[in-house]
Subunit: 155 residues, 6 copies
């Protein structure tokens, strides 16, 4: 194992880029969006994530509420869970993530995202940068993109 | 002291995130905005920073001028000064900061920020990325957010 | 040679910032835009890059097509080529670049940029973050800004 | 066969109009959009055209690129192919088309359309008028409408 | 009678152009809008067309409905009726019209126009192109412009 | 000479299309814009047309006036003059043009264009369609596009 090894195939990228790269003791991840790369399907609401995740996020079962909160909550969960999977594929774990840069389509979504993030970081929180941008790939349905960095020292 | 230690309490964050984190020889900071966390007060002009800072920045005492330039100059000073305090709390100093990512609400503010930044980096300047974004937290009064990274090798 | 040495003069920055900085085994670059710093001239189309680059990018010779595609293709080429020059000036090479953050004025330009990027990274691709922002420096003619990081271990 | 005969049923129009009409030695076609009249389905991307056409147009298999370029490329192909079918139903062939009026939703799409058009007119190109309009029928998903005229002299 | 003769005075144009021109077996008409050239008056509703036409178009006598539907229905009727008069002045009849290019201010008006058009073309319908444009002459009250072509072979 | 012959090279097109095509006794022209194809230069004002044309159009020599009226007057003259050249290259003359379709960026320009058009059609005027569109190729500097058709019977 070299300090600069190849990305795993855990998260198939949308374009030609690596899902993660090791550089020294660091694992750098690409910005993650809520697109299921196998199905080329965008996560648009509770119905696109596992039922137990939807329950954890507070799905009410009331249409008017779920249709409003579902998209950002489901995308937040999906993105952070995929970051977790990617870091694990790279030999680390979620608590090794020490930095997040978070891009929103609309910062009114921040409180929803913030609540979801706490489930993924019960211990020491990462450093964080948050801005609102005009758009992300691939379409306007994308509400959030998160870029994570982890510290996973080689033995 | 470990290579990956706990954030200090110097800058109490608005949400649940760390003000800084050490990873190896690096200190990573969260994006900093001009909000006084103790008072939960946004820096809106010269009156929200120390008088000697306002003088340094060129406060004219003429209302029409100060009301235009004051907000971006005061926020620029506040943000960079808080970065300085945070790096020092992490065991380094401002000259250890080698990278800045700067988000603006309006790039017409850049020349003002640029002048302030020179006061904080009289020596070798950091690498720099500058973009204009739609919005930042917590409100539209925020004109700038700066994310800094420092190199502070452990003995 | 120290682990934290001075930026070369290869790419003369527009404001007071470094084109690159070494920190440990890493080379951090400033965000790069398509401005020729010597001539203070913005790259606006095929005519502002070498003819062989224009040919490589697919210049058709038809005015209506070239005037539409030329700006983003030429800026993409110029930015990535300047990143290559800067990394080489820092003692590395393009294949050492393992991370890119890419800011676009309009994400419809992404497919064009993506094709150009493949020419510069024929081997292992870097991790990648892509967002659309409102504006970049110095003017609205700038369609893309790319921030690169490379891993170039010291002997 | 009269100089002014009835439209065939090849392309079932959306409203009450003819797909084509002969007048003397000329065949006039209605403006064609990318709607499959049998299925009343709008062509939205590569998945709505035959796989070999998608390959010809340069489908990359990368989601972010294909989702951006697919709609205009697939609509361009569909519209021109349906013009070909209609002219053939009227007793002519694509090379008899000597005039095109092309309406775009966004002229940034022109280079993509232009490349597709070359596949359909390998020989002498038609005269051409190109403008950008506010909208076309039936919905905002329609990116292009093309009106063709052919010269097919009666024996 | 020559193959290329002079326009009649049936429809006095607003600027210096011909209402119609013969070229070979074809009669080409200028784009027609709903302006009464004698009175230099724009058709704005049912009150500007003959009562029996208003009845045919479905005038309800209810203000809220007629004020909404009246403008487009009355303009559609007026424009198509003037095309009929012009073609007759040129020696043909409405059924000789084989091609229409139709420009709308707002395509939501299309269903209304489409219903009116059926009254004028009970037999074989013409080929048709429909687009929405930003504006037409002389003012923003103009909702539709129709350009017709007829085939009226000389003996 | 056949009824359907090849376009001359008089007006080098911007993309791959013909400047004109004969079909039977008709000459069909592509939409013409004010771009000098040899120099790939857009006509932006009086300085881009011959001085005697500028004088004819009413150049005042007063900057404020000429900078407002110059662009549309110069483009109108250039476009109609190029139509004249193209028709002559096809074996006809300006008086053979019997139909014009005119696309404007802004219909406030119409009176200026209309005055210029009278110089080119001192005799029988052509039929005419006028609409305002969102944009034309190649850039937003283009204020007008004119599509002409001529009747030039073969011996």
């Amino acid at each position: 194992m070299t300090p600069m090894n190849q990305p795993s195939t855990i998260a198939q990228p949308l374009a030609r880029y690596a899902a993660w790269r090791r550089a020294g003791d660091f694992i750098f991840l690409s910005g993650v969006i809520a697109v299921d790369p196998a199905a080329a399907r965008i996560v648009r609401g509770y119905e696109d994530i596992p039922p137990e995740a939807a329950t954890l996020l507070g799905r009410t079962g009331e249409f008017s509420t779920d249709v409003k909160e579902g998209p950002i909550l489901a995308q937040s969960w999906y993105v952070l869970d995929r970051i977790r999977q990617t870091v694990e594929a790279a030999g680390g774990q979620m608590s090794d993530v020490f930095k997040l840069v978070q891009y929103f389509r609309c910062l009114d979504h921040f409180p929803h995202y913030s609540r979801v993030r706490k489930h993924f970081f019960p211990g020491e929180p990462p450093v964080s940068t948050v801005v609102e941008v005009s758009a992300m790939l691939p379409t306007d349905d994308i509400l959030i993109e998160v870029e994570a960095t982890a510290w996973v020292p080689l033995r």
